[in-house]
């Protein structure tokens, strides 16, 4: 219990709440970095994902590319980019955005693929344009899985954004590197615990979001089902069945 106790003491130590390297400051930096990375990755991944899901083409290429991107070690990519553009946040943003793209891309196109083909076909047949199908049918119905992809990406980014501290005075990773290098394991473990807490908080937010965006009518199991007789009684015609199915 020594290390965990030390780490908890470190987290609760008021000295760590003052100054530029304070816990709240680093945590906010870390969170801000995560959100901006998700934004950048979404800007790239979502249009492609929607295009693939809507047209039904290019899925194989997307899967292969995602696999390739996932295989790139983030620290290696970060170092390579930093050698090119220098220290600071540029390289971390590039490397972490690459990390975040595959799950968001998958969330975007699987969200569309999960939609009942009949509904889409009907939408087209009654006269919706392709854009209208996209905005009025596919996006609302595909949103839950897209949020799921964002959730997965958020988790990966918040855990790996500690690497930003490799080349920048930024984020919760500073506690990890500093603690590691100076053998201050309380700091290192404390920093890790903070990252975990942040990750759990994001998970909770996204889980809620994922539930909220399910369109009413799709989460049908929870809505009251009214299977009352639909036909008006017509003269001379005995209803074949009484209550229940029309």
């Amino acid at each position: 219990m020594n290390i965990f106790a030390d780490a908890l003491n470190w987290i609760l130590d008021p000295a760590n709440y003052a100054g530029p390297g304070a816990i709240p400051v680093r945590a906010l930096e870390h969170l801000g970095f995560t959100f901006l990375t998700l934004l950048l990755a979404s800007a790239i991944a979502i249009p492609f994902g929607f295009a693939i899901g809507h047209s039904g083409r290019g899925r194989g290429l997307a899967v292969a590319t995602s696999g390739g991107l996932r295989a790139i070690p983030t620290l290696g990519l970060l170092t390579l980019v930093a050698l090119w553009i220098g220290i600071g946040l540029g390289a971390p943003y590039v490397a972490l955005t690459v990390l975040a793209i595959p799950p968001i891309l998958a969330g975007a196109y699987t969200g569309f693929e999960a939609i009942d083909r009949g509904a889409i076909d009907a939408a087209r047949a009654v006269g919706m344009s392709e854009v209208q199908i996209l905005t009025q049918v596919e996006i609302p119905l595909g949103l839950p899985l897209l949020i799921g992809g964002l959730r997965s990406a958020a988790l990966q980014v918040v855990a790996t954004a500690t690497l930003a501290a490799y080349v920048a005075d930024f984020g919760l990773g500073r506690y990890l590197f500093s603690g590691l290098k100076t053998r201050d394991y309380a700091q290192m473990l404390g920093g890790s615990i903070l990252v975990i807490l942040l990750a759990l908080a994001l998970e909770a937010v996204f889980a809620t979001l994922q539930r909220i965006v399910v369109p009413r009518g799709v989460a049908s199991t929870r809505l009251p089902v009214d299977r009352a007789r639909s036909a008006r009684p017509r003269p001379g015609m005995e209803p074949a069945i009484t209550k229940g199915n029309p």
């Binding site: 076909d121 006269g127 609302p140 049908s220 299977r227 639909s230 036909a231 008006r232 199915n245």
Partner: protein, 280 residues
């Protein structure tokens, strides 16, 4: 009037769904395309609203070649009802019905009011208007689908095996509704089915199709029943082995109908009941 002129459709994978098909579909009547799967009946139907485009030949609606028309606009002027209703699951019933009017720019309030009236037309309780499709039974969903098809008061109503996914009792009800609607509204209905009894029930003109959209016979139900054109038609309608050739017999003081094998096919009950049912 819908006119098919030497229409063919070959899909990219090589299948020839329809080969040199020509047909005139009269206005204000119900024309039924009936055949087994692979006969191209659904393909032909979907060519009318340009969900499928022919690889050869032309299709004209009231003299206008539809290839010259913008597909989205065309579809908004034609009613389309499919199997499994194809309703948007995330929209309320009333909004589903009002889909096309809203697309055409009708103000929201009016579109909804019209939609509610349409629910009456198809025999649905107005209390269902604010429910979601998943809360409705299969039969109710199909009625909503029909209401949606009628929303812009189109001249043409395309129906692709719309009653195939519901149980026989509901199917019979829906068939009766359609007949009643037709009597009231007189649309040009093109109806696709694989069920020959349904074809004879609903069709003013029945087109029996073989593989590749080849027409085996066109005619009124009575014509086809009385004079099947060839063996294919005969077996298709069940005329072989005398299942359709019935004669009257007297059993226990009642008139019964018996087929050529001596099997009891039905009981004669006198005049035709209430609304148009059976053969015209």
């Amino acid at each position: 009037m819908i006119e098919f002129r030497s229409v063919s459709k070959q899909f990219p994978d090589g299948t020839l769904a329809v080969d040199d098909f020509s047909l005139t579909i009269p206005s204000h009547r119900t024309t039924v395309l009936v055949g087994s799967s692979g006969s191209g009946k659904t393909t032909l139907l979907r060519m009318i609203n340009r969900m499928v485009d022919p690889t050869a030949g032309t299709i004209e609606i009231d003299g206008v070649d539809i290839a010259s028309l913008e597909p989205v606009k065309l579809r908004r002027s034609i009613g389309y009802v499919m199997q499994n209703s194809g309703l948007l699951p995330h929209r309320k019933v009333v909004d589903n019905v009002a889909t096309v009017p809203l697309l055409r720019g009708v103000p929201r309030k009016k579109a909804r009011a019209d939609a509610l009236a349409l629910l009456d037309t198809v025999g649905l309780d107005r209390t269902l208007a604010d429910r979601y499709p998943s809360q409705l039974s299969g039969g109710q969903q199909q009625r909503v689908g029909v209401a949606r098809g009628l929303a812009v008061n189109p001249n043409i109503l395309l129906m692709d095996e719309p009653f195939g996914a519901v149980d026989p009792i509901v199917r019979a009800e829906l068939q009766q509704e359609l007949i009643r609607l037709q009597t009231e509204l007189g649309k040009t209905v093109v109806f696709v089915t694989h069920d020959v009894d349904e074809a004879f029930l609903l069709g003013d003109q029945v087109v029996i199709l073989q593989q590749g959209g080849r027409i085996a016979q066109i005619g009124t139900p009575t014509d086809i029943l009385a004079h099947p054109a060839n063996d294919f038609v005969a077996s298709f309608i069940g005329a072989e082995r005398g299942k359709r050739a019935l004669h009257l017999e007297r059993h226990d003081g009642r008139d019964v109908l018996v087929d050529s094998d001596g099997r009891l096919a039905g009981v004669l009950v006198g005049d035709a009941p209430g609304q148009g049912v059976g053969f015209r």
